[in-house]
Amino acid sequence: MSIQLIRQAFNGNRPPPKMWRSHELKEYYDVVIIGGGAHGLACAYYLAKEHGITDVAVLEKSYIGAGGSGRNTAIIRSNYLTSEGVRFYNQSVKLYEQLSDELNFNVMFSQRGHLTLAHTDGGVNTMRRRAEVNQIEGVDSRLIFPDDIKSLCPYLDVSDHPRYPILAALYHPPGGIIRHDAVVWGYAHQADVRGVHIHQNTEVTGIKVQDGKVTGVETTRGHIKTGTVLNATAGWASTITAMVGVKLPLTTIPLQACVTEPLKPFLDVVVVSGSLHVYISQTDRGELVMGASVDPFSSYSMAGSLAFLEGIAGHVLELFPSLSHVRILRQWAGICEMPPDYSPIMGFTPVNGFLIDVGWGTYGFKASPIAGKTLAELIATGKPPILIVPFRLSRFEENDLVGEKGAAAVGH
C-alpha cells in the first residue's frame, strides 16, 4: 500500500497533489515538443532527467494522450523481424519493465505472454524467422505448436476445422499489455515535477524558419521562440512537417479497435493472427480489447466503420468460437501514418533545429520510452544514438530501407 494513498485516505479535505500544472506560455523555450502523447512526454521527461534540459514546452492541441497514445490496444512486445527492430524494441520493453518504479505510477505492465498465430506454411516460416532473430538478439521468443498453444489459451480453436487452422505460433513470454493512459500520465507527472511545461489545448499553427533554421513556433495561444522543435505528432506528422516545407514518406490511415463488456478472466495471453487480421487481449478489468489491420483507405477521420466491427467479429469467432454471445461495448479509431518500410523515422531533417519522431505506423506506443530516451539524447548531444541511426529520414534517398515490411501486415 502506498504512503500516498494512506495519506490521501486520511487527509480529510486536503486536495490531492496535482499530477501536472497549467502555465502561461513563456516567450522562449530551449526545446519545444509538439505532441503531448507518450512519445513527446517521454522525451520531455528524459531531457529533464538525464540531460538537465528542463526549459521544455510540450504543446498538445487537445488533452494529453488524446492521439494514438490513448487509442492503441496497449500491446507491448519486442519480437520483431529485423535485428534493428528487435534491438530497439527490446530496449523499450526493458524500460517499460522499470517504468512503474521509475515514474512512481503503476502503469500496470502485465507481461502475460504474446502469441502470434501462423495459419499457413509460409506463416510458420515467418514465425520461425522471427523466433530465430529474436533469440539471437537475446529476446525470449519461440515457435510453439497446437498442444502448447491450447494449454496457454484453452479458448482458442486449435482443431483443423477452421478455415484457417492454427499450425503454430510465435510465443513471446515477455510480451503483454499495459495501461496506456497511465504511461502518458506518469511521464507527464514526472516531466512536470522536473519543470517541463505541459500546455494542453495549445495547437501549433505555424513554425518559423530563417535561413534554414527553426526560430519559433506559432500557436493558438501565442508565439514561442526556440531553436529546437521536435515533431512528435504521429498520425498528424505530415501536417506539422508541411509547415517547414518538408515532405515525408507517410500516408495517414485510421486503425480501429473495439472493446467488449467485462467478463471474468479467461484469456491470459495476447493473441494475434496475421492471416485473420486480428489481435485480442483481456484487460485486468475483464474487457476484451480487439483490433485489426489499418483501414482500407487513407484518412484523418476517426469516425470508425461498421465494416470493421463486422470483420473483426467474424475473425474473432473464427479463433474463439465460444464468444458468440459476448457483446461489443464500444468502437473507436486512431490514426496511423504508414511509412513504406513499416519502420519509424527519427532524427534530423533538412531544416536545422527541426527534428522528427514520426512514421510510427501501428507500432508507436510500444516504443514510447526508448523513442523518448534516444531522442532526448539526440537533442542533448546532437548525435544520433546508434539504436536510431537505421531510422533516419535520409534512408529513403540512400535506398537503405529497414526490412520490417517483410513481417506480416498485422504486427501487434
Binding site: 512503474s100 466491427l309 467474424g314 535506398n399
Partner: protein
Amino acid sequence: MRDGVSPHFAIIYQVSGAVIGELMQTEQDTLKTTPNRLHPKQGEVIDRSTTIRFTFDGVKYIAHPGDTVASALTAAGVKVLSRSFKYHRPRGLLCCAGHCPNCLVQIGDEPNVRACMRSVEAGMDVRAQNVWPSLNRDLLSLTQLGSRLMPVGFYYKTFIRPKKLWPLYEHTLRHAAGLGEVDIDTPSGKFDKQYLHTDVVVVGSGPAGISAALGAAEGGAQVLLFDENSALGGHLRFTVPLHSSLPSQVSKDLPELLEALSQQPNVTAFTDTSVLGWYQDNWLCAAKGARLFKIRTKSVVVATGAYETPLIFDNNDLPGVMLGSAAQRLLHLFGVLPGRQVVIVTANEDGWDVAADLQALGVNVAAIVDEREHNACSSPYRDGLANIGVPVFYRHTIREAIGSSAVSGAKIVRLDGRGEIAPATTQVLQCDLIVTSMGWTPATELLYMAGGKSEYSADRAETVPVSTPPGIYVAGRAAGIHAVDSQITEAWQAGSNAATFAGFGEFDELAAQASDISEPRRTSERVCVPGKKKRFVCYCEDVTDEDVETAIAEGYDSIELLKRYSTISMGPCQGAMCSMNTIHLCARANGRTVQETGTTTARPPIAPVTLGALAGQNVEPVQTTPIHQWHLDHGANMMVAGLWLRPNHYGDPAAEAVCVRKQGGLIDVSPLGKLQLTGPGVPKLLERIYTNQWHNLRVGRVRYGVMCNDEGVVLNDGVCAHLKDETWYMTTTSTGATAVFEWLQWWLQSGWGEGVHLTDLTDTYAAFNLAGPQSRTVLEKLTARNLANKAFPYMRIRSAKIADVPCQLLRIGFTGELAYEVHCPSGYALHVWEALMDVGRELGIAPFGLEAQRILRLEKGHIIVGQDTDAMSDPLSANMAWAVKLNKPDFLGKPSLMRISAEGPKQLLVGFKMVDPDVVPAEGLQVVAPEVDGRLKIIGWVTSSRFSPTLEEAIGLCWLPADLASQNGASFTIRMGGDLKAAHVHHGAFYDPSGERLRM
C-alpha cells in the same frame, strides 16, 4: 404499416382473465410466490393465461409469457439482482429500460444479459454474476471496508514496489473484476444479416417517432421505424399524459397513433430492434437478437427519447431506489408493484404522475419530496393527492437512502432560499421504495454520430439540438420536447421534412421551421446532494462524486481525461446514466459552465451487440479448383494457399517427387492467374511491366518474366505466351493473380493502355501440369497434335484438342522435367484431368501436390516469389539478374534497379548444400557469423530447404552477403537450435544444371 419481421402486428393490448395469486398449489414449497403482482390491467404485456418457470441462482420462480426476467423477479419480491463492479454492493432495478448495469445477469451460457429487457423463457437458468459465494452474501463486498484506501485510480498509486509482487496483485485484481462468464462450450449459434434500403429511417417509436413516421409516409416516402422495446409506443405505453385526468389509464393517444400507423402501408416497423450506430452517408446498423440490419437511407429522424437522469445522494445505489419511468414500466407493462411504501423525490410533474399512479394502485405514498416551491408545481394531481392526505414536502430533497441491502427508509432535508441544504432539517421517512424523477438526458448519441450538435440550455437544464447535418432530423424528447401534444405535432413536421429531403414533395420552408417550444422545465440542475456516505455517479464502475472531485483536483480536469482516469461512462451503460451528471460535476469543480465543459465523443454501438450478430453467418471465403472434389476423393491432404485450398500431397510427397522424375506426375495448377492481352499495344506494355525483353518474342513462343514495382521490388513472376498476332496469354502466381490484374488495369488506365485489351481468364481455364519423361507419351494418346520435340519444342505454346477438349498446351516446367501445362475450359476440367490420369496411370504417372512441386523446383533452384523473396527483394539480388535487361528503355523498377546495380546488391539469394547431407535446416533459420565476443551476427537466412529425394541430400536457398554468395563452395554456418551447422554455397541448379531434361 407492416411489421418488419413477423407478419403479424405486435399485440400490445391484451386483457387477460387470470387473477392474482399465481401460486401453483402443488409446488408451494419450492416455487416462489408473486406477492407483488397486481390485478390485470389494460395495457399490460403479459399473458396471464399461462405461467412458465425459470430459476434464479437455483431458486425456482414463475412468470407469465411477456414478463422480463426482471419483472418476474420483482413480482416475486426479489430486490437484489447484481453486485457492483468494484465494491460488490447490492444493486437492484434502476432504469428498467436496458440502459443501466444494475440488472446484468448470466442466462445459461450468455453473459451480461439485461434482465429488464430479456423475456422469460421456460426453463431459463438465470444466475447472478461476479459474486462469491452468493448474491446475498458476497464476501467481496468487504472491499468496501477498505474503500478509503481505494479511491479513484488507486491502482495507479499502489502495487508499485516490490515489482516482484505485481503479478500476484494483478492476478487478484483480475479475478475480482469482470462480470459474466464465457462458457467454453458455447455453441456457435445461428446469426444472419439483412440489408435494408429506404427513404426515411425513424429511430424510436414513442409518440414522436410514430408521428414522424406518419408524417414522412404521408409524403410518399418509404419509412422504416425502429424501437428497442418489445412494442411500439415508447413512453405512452406506461405514462399518463399530462392532459389526461384519469390516473392509471393508458393514454387514448396511443391506440389512435397505432391505428393510423396500421393504415399506413409505407411504414415498416421493427420492434426489439436497437439501432446501434450511424455511419457515413446515412449507413445505419441495427440489431434484433441474432439478426443484424444494415440500412441505407436518404434521411433519418432521431426520435430516440431521453434517459431519465438519476440523482446522486447518499446510498443512491441501494436496491429500492428507482427511476420514476422504471416504476411506471413495472406497473403498467407487467402489473408489478415495485414497492409498498414509496417516497417520491422529484423536481417536475413526471414525479407527480408516478405518485398518482402508485397511489391509485394501492401503494402507500409516504411522501412526495419536491425540490420546487409549492407554486412551481403545476401537476394536475397536485391538489388531489394533497387532499387525500399524501404528505408533500416542497423545497425538500432526499439526503440518504437508508437500508443495508434494500431501502427501509429515506432521509429528507429542507432546502434554503439558495437551494442549499438547510442545517438540522433532516427527517426520516419509512419506505421500501424511493422513486426519483429529477429530469431527462436527451438520447443524442445517434445525432452526435451523424454530426449534429447540441447546446446546454441552463434554463431547461438539458441539452437542446442546435444544428443537424442535412438529412438528419430530431424529434420528441431527444429534441427537448416533452409534452405529448407538441411531440406529435413537431415530429410530424420532422418526418415530413425528412421525406422532402428524400425527394418527396416540395420543401415548405414556413412549415419546416421548428416552432419555439415553451414548456415547463422538466429537469433539475441539482444532480448531487452532498452527504457523508457513498454517492454514486457511475453505477457501472462504482465511481462516486468524491472520486470525480479527487480526479479533477489531481489534474484530470477535462471531461475526456476525467473519463479515462475515473473510467466513468466506460462501463456497460456507456454513459446513459452518468454522462450528464458527470458533466455537471466536472463543470462545477472547474468553475466552468456545462456548455464549456463539453461532452465525450459518442461511439457506436449505442447498445451493446453480440459478436455473433456482427459476424453473421461468418463465412470465410474459400476458393477451390474445378476438380477439388477429385482431390478429396483421392486422399489429398489439403492446404491453405491464400484464399485457395490446394492438395499439399496425396500421402507421400517424396515419392510423388521421385515419380515425377522417373515416370511423371500430374498437378492441378488451376489457381495460376491467367490473363489474355490483345491488341497492337501489347508488346510495348509487356516491355514496360516486365524486366526482360518482349518485342522479339515470336508467335507460338513462351517466355518467363519478372514484374517489379518502381521500387524494384519483385511483385510477381510467370510466363507469357505469344498466341497469335495480337493475342498474348499471361500466367501469374496463384496468390498474386488478383493483384497483378489490378496492377495491369492501373497501368493500362493511367496512360499505358493504348492498343491493349485485358481479360482475366483465371476462372475460365483450369490448368494442369503434366511433368516427367513419360508426359509426351501420355499426351500423344489423347491428341492428334504432333508433339515431337522439333514440332513442339521447349518454351512453346500450341493449341490442341486433348480428349476432344480444345486446350492450350504450354511446354514449360517448374519441375525441371519435360512437361506440358494443359489449360482447358474449367467446365471440362474433370474430363481432361481424368483422361490424363486414365492414360497416365498405365505409364506410372501419379498425381502430385504442392509439396512435391516445392521439392522439385528447389532441386532446380527455382525461386518462389513471396517465399524466397519478400516485400523488400529486388530481382538482381534474388539471383534473377538474367531476367533483368537494364539496357532496354524505361520499365517499371528500372531507375531503382539501375541504382542497385550501380552499387551492387548487398545480399544475394543463393543455393546451398549442407556439409552433413542429412541435416535439413528449417525455413526461416538464420545464417550467422560468430563475432569476436562470441555473439552471433546475423548475415542471412534460409528461405527454402528440403531433403532432396533425387540427390539424397539436403539442399536449400538462402540470403547471404553478396561477397560470400558469389563464391561457389564458400562455407558458412546456420544456427539450428543451440548448434551451428556448416553449409556451403552452391551455384546453379542442384539437378540437371544444363537443363537437358526440359528439352528432351
